[in-house]
């Protein structure tokens, strides 16, 4: 876990962090979000001492990081940045192996690890000997994630890692990352300025502005009434709509819903399933001007999902 207590940092007269308190429990993903220059990247970099702090205390797994030699600390923290920063003269395998080699793992173990990571992130084995120049943006970003995970660090820092790729690739990367995170349960601090990305990936959304944390909580929390004016305007009036993408049909307790009685969906119409997101379901209602749509729970068994069910679910998560 990560704990920051009253962290201050100034660059000359410019105060970048003004007394930040933050706690990220083990295995959770905290997403720092805010406009550019709000200090979110600086905050991230204080955790692996890429940025030194003026005062305050930062603990990683109950250890004050000030007591570490910076290099040794960084080898225990995975790091992944926008533009990836892969070494162009190294092969993919050598890029992923950087930290394990710094930690002097035996070569045989490194190779096993590299293969496993690449398989997990959906990269073909033959890519091991390619140079970064030969990869697409999305592939390079996957390699970047593999590299951050290589030495199996308990903590992962990600600085807008999916910022530089096209929207379709970004969505794929986000889903791949969610899957990896579900399997590995790392303690993650993730920086982004994209509200939808934060909603999708965060266990806890942390909204920052002008070097301070204004509000933090589960993504659902911000679907209800938000008091703080900046948070309200930054997350935007469409926030509940965006939040729908985070949940899928199975999150709303389909077992309790009545079976579908109306006419069966016409052929050619999109079939909604358990893993369809609530946003898709709402879109389908709007596309056909309906208040309720059928969702397939198992083969040939449909339940009725209504607009009220969606709104009710949002209301529920906003109370958590």
């Amino acid at each position: 876990m990560i704990r920051l207590t009253q962290v201050f940092k100034a660059y000359g007269a410019q105060e970048a962090l003004k007394g930040v308190d933050l706690e990220v429990p083990e295995g959770e993903c905290a997403v720092l979000i805010g406009p550019s220059g709000c200090g979110k990247s600086t905050l991230l970099k204080t955790i692996n001492r890429m940025v030194g702090i003026d005062s305050g205390r930062i603990e990683v797994n109950e250890q004050d990081i000030a007591g570490y030699q910076p290099e040794l600390l960084r080898r225990q923290i995975g790091y992944c940045i926008q533009g990836v920063g892969l070494f162009p003269h190294f092969t993919v395998q050598d890029n992923i192996a950087v930290v394990p080699r710094l930690l002097k793992w035996p070569e045989s173990q490194i190779e096993v690890r590299v293969k496993a990571l690449m398989e997990m992130s959906g990269l073909p084995d033959a890519y091991r000997f390619k140079k970064p120049k030969e990869l697409s943006g999305g592939e390079a970003q996957r390699v970047g994630v593999c590299r951050a995970l290589a030495a199996d660090p308990p903590v992962l820092l990600m600085d807008e890692p999916f910022g530089a790729v096209d929207p379709l690739t970004r969505e794929r990367l986000q889903l791949a990352f969610m899957e990896i995170q579900r399997a590995l349960k790392k303690t993650v601090v993730f920086v982004t300025h994209d509200v939808e990305e934060a909603i999708l990936l965060a266990d806890r959304v942390v909204v920052m502005n002008q070097g301070q944390i204004l509000d933090a909580g589960a993504p659902g929390k911000f679907a209800g009434e938000v008091e703080e004016p900046f948070v309200k305007s930054f997350l935007g009036s469409e926030y509940p709509l965006k939040l729908l993408r985070r949940y899928s049909a199975k999150d709303i307790g389909l077992a309790l819903l009545p079976a579908w009685r109306g006419a069966m969906p016409e052929s050619g119409r999109r079939l909604l399933r358990m893993d369809s997101s609530l946003k898709e379901i709402l879109s389908e209602m709007m596309r056909h001007g309906l208040q309720e749509v059928p969702v397939e729970v198992e083969v040939d068994r449909y339940v009725r999902v209504s607009y009220e069910d969606l709104a009710g679910h949002l209301k529920e998560v906003s109370k958590l």
Binding site: N48, M50, P70, E71, L72, L73, R74, R75, Q76, Y79, I81, Q82, G83, V84, G85, L86, F87, P88, H89, T91, V98, V99, L102, D125, A126, Y127, F129, K130, K131, P132, K133, E134, R147, L157
Partner: protein, 391 residues
């Protein structure tokens, strides 16, 4: 107009000017007296076959240079190749040519190559540079001429006679020249790269360092030579150890020091821009993964900057080969010693004998370094690696 034709026409013009208006050679009964110029007409007088051959070749060259389209005619495309032999052949002809009516002592009489000859030489190289495989053609031309000289096939050329006079010294000075120009680069390497790294890491020191090394570069080399003689003389007179090491105000030491300072700029400046062009994201992620500064330098910065650093070394070497000539002025040796001796004696051929190796050394070293540089760039992954190493 296509570059090939343009170069061919310029080359042709130069050659024709050289043959028609300028003397090809100058015959001197001995080393000191004023010579008798010989032009093309004088050379061909009474040699019908030679005259015919020469006319044929010039005609072919004119047709080659003035055509509008690239033809498939084998004979015409062979013109640049045939021209490769001309400078060498001219040497043979000039070596055996004598002015009419005169009784000369062939032991001391000699034939200097004159302005017309060099113009023809330049014209041929120009024409060849535009032709396909121009590099090979030009090298061939130079090599044939060198072979004619080196194998003593043109014994009465002044160039050859001067060479025979100083043969032992020639090779010694050549070695000395190479040692001076290469060793000073080697010595400048470490400080140069280090300074470049400091410029990369510390913005405040950057201007100072680059300004200082730039000062060495823009200050006239000659004045630097003069400046350094004073402290070195002082040191060698007052500190016995310095004198024992053979360091004096003149000779090898000041030349070596100046040359080293002189090539600091290209090495430092290139090292700096080499380090600086490495993406920030790459260096940042190296740092964030827990590499020490030393590891980052050795594993990331240096290999990625190497092609750029190397091109700085290439610049330093080629410019040093030329600058080393000045070492001759202060008793540092090298080809400069021959050149300045020739200048003081008004012996043009000795000057040329000293200059040709310098030009050749610079060209050859440049080509070799360029080749290595290309290989390096490929390996650093800066250009797209076409080699697919996948299984």
């Amino acid at each position: 107009m296509k570059e090939t034709f343009l170069k061919a026409r310029v080359g042709l013009t130069l050659g024709v000017l050289g043959i028609v208006f300028l003397p090809l050679g100058t015959f001197r009964p001995n080393r000191v007296v004023r010579g008798i110029p010989l032009d093309g007409e004088a050379l061909l007088e009474g040699r019908i076959l030679l005259a015919l051959a020469a006319t044929g070749l010039v005609t072919a060259a004119v047709i080659y240079a003035l055509r509008e389209r690239e033809g498939k005619l084998f004979l015409l495309n062979g013109v640049p190749w045939m021209l490769s032999f001309v400078p060498g052949l001219l040497m043979l002809i000039l070596s055996s040519a004598r002015p009419v009516g005169g009784n000369f002592d062939l032991e001391v009489a000699r034939m200097s190559l004159s302005s017309g000859y060099w113009l023809v030489f330049a014209g041929i190289l120009m024409l060849q540079s535009g032709a396909p495989r121009g590099g090979v053609l030009m090298s061939l031309t130079v090599l044939i001429s060198l072979a004619v000289l080196g194998f003593g096939l043109a014994p009465h050329l002044a160039l050859y006679k001067e060479f025979m006079n100083i043969e032992v010294a020639f090779y010694a000075e050549l070695r000395r020249h190479l040692t001076l120009s290469l060793a000073s680069v080697v010595v400048a390497l470490l400080p140069g790269i280090l300074l470049g790294y400091i410029c990369h890491r510390h913005q405040r020191l950057r201007e100072w360092i680059l300004g200082t090394v730039n000062l060495f570069q823009v200050a006239p080399t000659l004045s630097l030579l003069g400046l350094i003689m004073i402290p070195l003389t002082f040191l060698s007179r007052n500190i016995p150890l310095v004198a024992e090491l053979g360091i004096r105000g003149v000779g090898f030491a000041p030349a070596f020091i100046i040359l080293t300072l002189y090539c600091l700029l290209p090495i430092t400046a290139n090292a700096f821009s080499g380090f600086d062009q490495v993406e920030t994201a790459v260096v940042d992620s190296a740092l964030a993964m827990g590499m020490t500064r030393r590891q980052i330098f050795r594993q990331v910065l240096f290999p990625l900057a190497l092609p750029v650093i190397f091109s700085g070394i290439r610049t330093a070497v080629t410019q040093n080969v030329g600058n080393t000539i000045l070492a001759g002025l202060i008793g540092g040796g090298g080809m400069g010693a021959l050149i300045f001796l020739g200048l003081s004696q008004s012996a043009t051929d000795l000057v040329i004998l000293g200059t040709i190796p310098v030009v050749l050394m610079a060209l050859i070293l440049d080509a070799v370094f360029k080749l290595v540089e290309e290989r390096m760039t490929q390996r650093a992954g800066v250009t797209h690696d076409t080699l697919d190493a996948g299984i």
